[in-house]
Each structure stands twice: as structure tokens, then as C-alpha cells.
Assembly symmetry: C2
Homo-oligomer: 422 residues x 2
């Protein structure tokens, strides 16, 4: 029997945060503490991978058991996240070499990276270069994205809670609108996050229990926006129901391929969106003469831990736990992926997905999830979506508000003499 | 002992709805059912007072006990509400005579009107004209407004739940922002409803537990917006905390008295607002060069029954119950008002307030609730606000979503031959 080496781990959170990415952190940290014979410390990167590049590390061993457990019900990213995409190995080799340098200095043998498609790509590249440099580091990806656009995994932690928040909020706003539409607002537009994939917008349809229930119109980025067809659909819904509720993705595009709401770009080169709802609203007011209200929940939808999906929380925890188990089981260059075993009853487990297959992929709504007219979802989509929002997982409350944890996030004294600019 | 006359009641919901106005309806209907010796049926106006004017009545006696009980956890207005203000007695006497005509036709001896300041004014006028016409009708007001701007009553049902939703959402978004601000969004602006009164915006401050916590800046309509002072405040907060969270009322005005976001008018002649957040955001981006996100929850904040304040739900129910008890106790021309007995422990009861004193009043934030710099609240405000959001009152969930009730809302066959246009 070989003597096991006890090494440290590095964990970082990346990209837009969610209501449950800290539940994954909880899964990682609690599982590591159960395997202290194999993994000594977990260093967390302050503000994601930037923390590794700048040697700005957090010693998670100084956090109490209570604080670690509280991560399971705390939104945001407890160690800080970032929008910072490492470039190609070829052109930005210095970044990767810097990561290896920092990991070597802290005897890091395990790299856990918790994020979306870009992050899985980074984890993959770190795995490649560490092997190339003869200092192999176990690299495990942990999925996270409210957009649900990660490949291979059946769904992504963060999505189920955003979906539950959106469907709940839309149902509630629809009750409001129905009460007011006789003499006031007739149309309500809810703007939903989701750059290219319409999963979150599609999830709004779960608010409808019966034919004719809100939402009456979905605008998903997978379907090119046609003004005429859209206005006809809204008018039809309004004539039939006396009001009309619309869920519109921030990422819908006009026939010329432009975002309806043009905007700045973020650090990843992705378009920075927001503001589709007022545009849609003005259109309906001008062309149909209907009185509209609109809402843009923005960050509220991805941080609403108070209405998180219990299924999502459990899956977020499970991928964190599985990542550690894969690592100590000798696996590397894989992501902990959720596999669906059955819809009804909903059953799932965690499997390995090669990082190479997940990296930089973007999973859009499949055509058979979108209704024939492009403004709704199919029964197949509903079967897929329905179990992901099931179960409530309320945080504790104190003085009427969720009692979330803020970690100590103790600074680790730097060991390296050189610095690295990001 | 006098023989009590058994007559019918009319109940209507008015104005913008809330998470708990149906809890007041529940209080009315359950209490009436306990006093069936005095009140036979409760007719509800479909879409508020419009239902009375147009003889479009709902027979609430056809609703099951279960459905009535479910109103306590269902947002919106179960019978429909309206934005329809009856004019002055002098100029619009026909409207009031029509109400009396309809009430006479249905043997309505009790008028319960559930709404804001305008509605209390209507109830007051109905009381006056019914006496004048020799057909006295017992008129009782039931308070409701998320804006919390009703006079006399210590707070208004609907406000506590909106406050809890806003403070919770802001705290969650602040966790999100804090995680991202190193490399992405630096400022977050939450736009809050509230036409003239800053109660809802002030309530956002409850999200802060310690000095320096979000929100860092409040923009309340009671304080004239000064661009220079605002930008200096944001810059200071950002330099100190590394990010800045702002809660901005839709009703903030520039020094010339104009709403920052000008817009159309609603049926009551009130300005129709919305869209302050993007304006504030653009200003900060242009002048301070900070990257901003903004959210406009709009109807979500007043219909978020899933995160209602238990205190608010209980008060909403209590004013509905008290309204019936006042009526059968021989009181008229009063509103059921909440009286605060103590802050800590929070104790309250229900008292009568004369409709004449409540009608058309608007209670703004008192000066001693606003901090010296105008961008925050005082300890006095915090003592007032804190108990109103305490307690959770979750609705039942089914398939992952709140299981709200839709009433049968059975039509009552019309008795009158003439119609009335609204």
C-alpha cells in the first residue's frame, strides 16, 4: 500500500454568483475536513482566481464549523468572485505559470474551481500545464451558473433557485396585474437574466398551472424577435385574458442579430445587458395602446437565497462534496456533473464529466423545448424544469431578515517576493 | 332589548394591491361568518368600487371556508381592485347616489372599503350622503397601502411585507455585489416604489446590521435630490467599502420640483413613475466612472407574499376583523387603525380613527427619521421600522411554488334595470 501524501487544496469561486455557490463551498470544506488525512488546508482565493494570481489567499481553516455550515444558506460568494478570464495557454502562458508558482509555494496539490464554462476551461488548462511542468495538480471543476448553460451536467447549481425565484415572482406579479387590469395596468413585463440561453426565461412558464395562466408570452434568446408576431401574440393574449404577462430575456435579438438592448461589454468580452423590459414596454404602449408596467430584478434573481430551491441547494452541496471525493479518489481534469436518472420521481446522482468536454461549451434550449410559435415551452421542457424548483430551503431569520454569515476571511501572509499584476 | 336588523354588507378593495390586502378580506369574511345573526351576506365589488357602480357584484357566501382561509396567504386582490377615484360630492353627486341605489337594491347596510387615503375619503363621503338621503349605511374603512402614508394609523397593512421584501432583497443583492466588485460591478441601485413618501426606501436601511453595511445611500422623496452631494456621498461610500449600494425612491425630485423620472399620469391624477434607477446609474457611470447594475422590482415588491412579514399579515387580518366588530358595535365613519403601544417588546392594538381625519391625508417621513445628511435614517426611524418586518408567514407550496387561491367569484344576477358608465 502506497503512502498517501497530504497536501493542501485551493478553492475559488468564479463568475456571476448565485444563491447556492456557497452551498458548494460548504460541500467542499466540510468534506475536506472529513478527509484531513489527505488534504491539510483549503486556501480560498480572495475574489476568485485573482486571489491565486496575486497571492491573496484566505485560510479557511480559521473558520468555525458553524460558519462553514452557514455557507449552505448564504448567497453571494463568501470568498469573493471575479469576472476574470485567463487567456489561451499559448498567448497568456505567464498567467498559468504564475498559478503553478503560487500553488507550489503553498504545497497546493488540489485545485477546485467553482464556476461556469469559462472556469471549467481554466481548470482544464491548469491541469494541462501542471502536467507539462511536471508538477501535476489534481484539477476538479464544480459547476455553477444561474444561466444553466453548462454542457454535460443535467442542470447547473444556481439555476433551480433562480428559476424558483422567477416563477414565484412572476406568479405573484400576475395576481397583482389581474387585480388591477380593469382600470389600470394591462401588461406586465419581467426582464430575465440570461445572455444567450433561455433557460431562466423558460422557467418562468412554471408559474402557469393551467392553459391561459400567466406568463402568456416568453421571449427567449434562442428565438429571433419579430415585432409583428410578438405584438399579435400580446394582443391575442390580452383580448383573451384581459391582461398579459411577458417574461423577456435580456438577450433577445432582432432579426439583424443585434441585442434589442445594446450595451457595454464585461471583462469576459460578453455584452453587458439590461433594459429590454422598458424597450418592450414602450413598443406595446405605442403600437397596442396598452398600459404597461415592467420589472428588472437583476441581481435579486441570482441572490434570492430566501426562496432557494431545496433541490438546487442539495445539488450544489453534492457537487462540492463529490469534487473532493473525486480528487482523493485519484481523478483529475473532471467536473462533478449532475446526472438525471428519472423525471418522476425525480432522481439524480453525481458523475464525472471530462473538463475538456465541458470547457467553453454553451448549452442552449433544445428546439423541442420551445413551443411551435416560439413564445412558450413544450411539455418536454416542463418535465425537465419542474423538479428543479421543488422544495423550500429557508435560511434562518433574525429580526425579520435572513441571518446570513460573513466569514472572517483571514489573510494568509505572503510567501513569494514577486507580485503579479491582473 | 332592541331587535337587531340583519342586513347585507358590501366589501371592496381599492388602489394598488399588496401582499396582505387579502388577509384583511379574510378577516372581514371570517368575522362576518361568526356574526351571521347581524350580517347576512357579504357582496364584494368586482374590481373595487367599480363593481358597486356597475352592479357587478360577487357573492362571497359561495366561497368555501377553505378558500376564505386561503386568502390570508394569497397576494393580489381576490375580488379585483381598481384605480378609480370618486370625485367631490358636489360635482359628482350622481356617483354617490348610484352607490346608494345599488346598496339599497341589495339591502346593504354595511360598507367596508379597503384601501389608502383616497378610499378612506370615499368611505367618508358615502357615510355623509347615506345619512343625507335618510338611508344611513355603516361605513368602515380598512387601511391598506405599501406606501405606509396613511394618517393616524401607526402603520398600514402591506407596508411591513414590502419592507421585509425590500430589506431582504437588498441584503442579498449586497452580498452579490460585495463578491463581484473587485473585478466587475461596483455600484448597485435598487429602485423602490413610493410616490411621495419615503417609508419603503427608508425600510431598505434595515438590511444594514453594522455601520458601513449596505445600503450606503438612500434617496428618499422627502429630500430634494442634489446631484453634487449625491455623487460625493456615493464616491465616499465606494472608497470606504469598495462598493456602494443605493436604494432610490421612484419619487425623488430635482431642485426644480420635477420628478427625476417624468412620466404619464394614472387615473387618480398621480404621476406614473418608474425608471429612476437607470437614470441614477447613468449619472454615476458618467461622473464617477463606476460600473453599475440596477434593479426595478416594481410589482414584485408589493405582491411578494412568499416573504411577507408575519406582523403585517396579522395586522392586516386584525383590521379586517376589527372593521366588522366596529360595524356591528354600532360605529360608523371610522377606520380600523393600528395603534403602537410599545416598541420593545412590540405591542399594538386596533383602535378607531375618524374617516374625516384620515381621508386624503398623506403621512410623509418625519424630519427626525431622516439622518442629518439626508441619505440615511435615524435610530428613531429604525426603532419604528424594525418590528414591522418581524416574523415569517410562508404560504403553502405545491410543486415548488406558492399555492395561492383563486376564488370562484360567482356573479350575482343584476336587479337594477338601469346601468351606470364608469
Amino acid at each position: 500500500m502506497s503512502v498517501m501524501t497530504r497536501r493542501n487544496a485551493f478553492y475559488a469561486q468564479s463568475g456571476g454568483v448565485s444563491a447556492v455557490i456557497n452551498a458548494s463551498a460548504c460541500g467542499v470544506l466540510q468534506t475536506v475536513r472529513q478527509h484531513s488525512d489527505r488534504i491539510a488546508k483549503v486556501y480560498a482565493g480572495r475574489n476568485g482566481i485573482i486571489g491565486a494570481l496575486t497571492e491573496d489567499l484566505i485560510d479557511t481553516s480559521s473558520e468555525s464549523e458553524f460558519a462553514i455550515a452557514a455557507l449552505k444558506y448564504t448567497p453571494g460568494a463568501a470568498f469573493g468572485s471575479c469576472r476574470y478570464k485567463l487567456g489561451s495557454l499559448h498567448e497568456h502562458r505567464a498567467q498559468y505559470e504564475r498559478l503553478i508558482e503560487v500553488f507550489r509555494a503553498y504545497d497546493v496539490g488540489y485545485f477546485f474551481y467553482n464556476g461556469g464554462g469559462d472556469s471549467q476551461d481554466t481548470a482544464h488548462k491548469v491541469s494541462q500545464i501542471s502536467a507539462e511542468l511536471g508538477e501535476p495538480i489534481v484539477c476538479i471543476g464544480i459547476p455553477k451558473t444561474v444561466d444553466n448553460d453548462l454542457a454535460i451536467t443535467d442542470c447547473s447549481p444556481g439555476f433551480g433557485s433562480a428559476a424558483k425565484y422567477l416563477a414565484t415572482s412572476l406568479r405573484e406579479a400576475a395576481f397583482d396585474l389581474a387585480a388591477m387590469s380593469r382600470s389600470s395596468t394591462q401588461v406586465f413585463v419581467l426582464e430575465v437574466m440570461g445572455r444567450h440561453a433561455g433557460w431562466t426565461t423558460a422557467a418562468c412558464a412554471l408559474a402557469a398551472e393551467r392553459e391561459g395562466d400567466a406568463p402568456h408570452v416568453l421571449l427567449m434568446p434562442e428565438v429571433v424577435f419579430s415585432e409583428d408576431r410578438f405584438l399579435a401574440k400580446v394582443n391575442h393574449a390580452f383580448r383573451r385574458s384581459g391582461n398579459c404577462v411577458i417574461a423577456a430575456s435580456e438577450g433577445i435579438k432582432s432579426p439583424d442579430g443585434q441585442f434589442l438592448s445594446a450595451g457595454a461589454q464585461d471583462a469576459f468580452g460578453h455584452a453587458q445587458l439590461g433594459g429590454v423590459a422598458p424597450i418592450i414596454t414602450n413598443l406595446i404602449g405605442d403600437k397596442l395602446g396598452l398600459k404597461c408596467h415592467w420589472a428588472v430584478p437583476d441581481y435579486l434573481q441570482r441572490s434570492a437565497r430566501h426562496i432557494a430551491s431545496e433541490t438546487d441547494v442539495e445539488q450544489a452541496y453534492a457537487v462540492g462534496r463529490a469534487a473532493v471525493e473525486f480528487a482523493i479518489g485519484g481523478r483529475t481534469a473532471v467536473m462533478a456533473a449532475i446526472r438525471r436518472i428519472s423525471d418522476t420521481p425525480y432522481r439524480w446522482d453525481i458523475v464525472e464529466a471530462p473538463l475538456s468536454a465541458v470547457a467553453n461549451q454553451e448549452k442552449l434550449l433544445p428546439p423541442d423545448f420551445i413551443s411551435a410559435d416560439g413564445f412558450g415551452i413544450t411539455e418536454a421542457a416542463r418535465r425537465y424544469l419542474a423538479p428543479l424548483i421543488v422544495g423550500e430551503s429557508y435560511p434562518p431569520f433574525r429580526d425579520g431578515l435572513p441571518d446570513y454569515v460573513k466569514l472572517r476571511n483571514a489573510i494568509v501572509p505572503r510567501k513569494l517576493s514577486n507580485t503579479f499584476a491582473v
